[in-house]
Symmetry: C2
Subunit: 202 residues, 2 copies
């Protein structure tokens, strides 16, 4: 079915154009018209693929989430097998922070999407589901690590999950260069080392 493949490719090309607009010029410039220009298609063509700005944003965020998942999957393949949950959590966190170009584009999209979602019920539902999925994935890793004795049994899995996810709070500090990437990574490593009880002196 070559036609369907073309459709998906065109939609992905438009999503990438939206990321570029958000990354380079900010969310307020991410109108259908601006994105059509960036994607090199007519406004009519873009509207053939996305009936509304909301539909375009939802597709672009889902596509960004898929790409992040792909990067994590590729990263997992480079870890010791089976991977240690500490390494998996570190990988997930580093892919969610704006530490390289792809992750930065996703991170900016995501931050803007959350703000827009506060005032748009359809976006809000999608954004909430996305954040809940991310939280559930981290919670599963934490619970498995507790079950397997890699995290002390007296740690509360809900609290530890939330503390790990809070580390995405480095995003504005990194974006505005208040802290450097190596400082964010040092703090993440410190937090995970303590969680996994492997804090032996230098």
């Amino acid at each position: 079915m070559p036609k369907l493949v073309d459709h998906q490719e065109r939609r992905e090309a438009i999503a990438r154009a939206l990321w570029r607009v958000v990354d380079q010029h900010g969310w307020t410039r991410a109108t259908l018209r601006e994105v059509a220009g960036e994607a090199g298609v007519s406004l009519g063509m873009l509207q053939h693929y996305f009936a509304s700005r909301t539909a375009m944003l939802i597709f672009a965020m889902e596509f960004a989430a898929d790409r992040t998942a792909d990067r994590i999957t590729r990263g997992l393949a480079t870890l010791d097998q089976p991977p240690h949950p500490r390494d998996v959590l570190r990988l997930v966190l580093t892919e969610m922070l704006p530490l390289h170009a792809d992750a930065r584009a996703s991170s900016r999209m995501s931050a803007a999407y959350v703000l827009e979602a506060l005032h748009d019920p359809v976006l809000r539902k999608q954004a909430t589901l996305g954040l809940r999925d991310g939280r559930s994935m981290v919670e599963r890793l934490v619970r498995e690590a507790i079950a397997q004795g890699q995290i002390a049994p007296d740690r509360d899995p809900d609290v530890e999950t939330d503390l790990i996810i809070a580390l995405t709070g480095f995003t504005p500090l990194l974006e505005l260069e208040v802290i450097e990437p190596r400082a964010a990574l040092a703090a993440i490593d410190q937090h995970l080392d303590r969680l996994f009880g492997s804090l032996v002196g230098p």
Copy 2:
């Protein structure tokens, strides 16, 4: 100088109108025209006080920062004297998270401001200064607590400062109701209890 006082009051009324627009309708609606309507002044009057949207945003953020500082000062007065640094840090964090209406409005302003700042050099400079000030205040508290033996001397003050500030990463989770306020507060308490080495059972 009654004229000067009037000016400041008018500017603050406009800043509050901007917060309401951002809080209720989102950043993309926060145009000069929309804010003038919300403040009940003409567009020309608003432009008399703020020559540009950027000037208005900078004033509104500075005013928001002042109000947050006022809330923290009022909170400090309710703590044991002299206040324990753990309690001060908890107060600062809870005032930075969207846990009540005023803090929520500031938090939404701040998140949108950071995103806008990425693509506007003037805003960027202001936003960076604001974040650096906040980080310095937390770092000073952490260093004092280490010096006074309230935090163990082997803790790295830079890493601990960054880990505390990262807790503002609960913002999107709270805004989208992925976690409840009491879960965020439980995680903050757990983190501070460990930092201050006072983890004794309930």
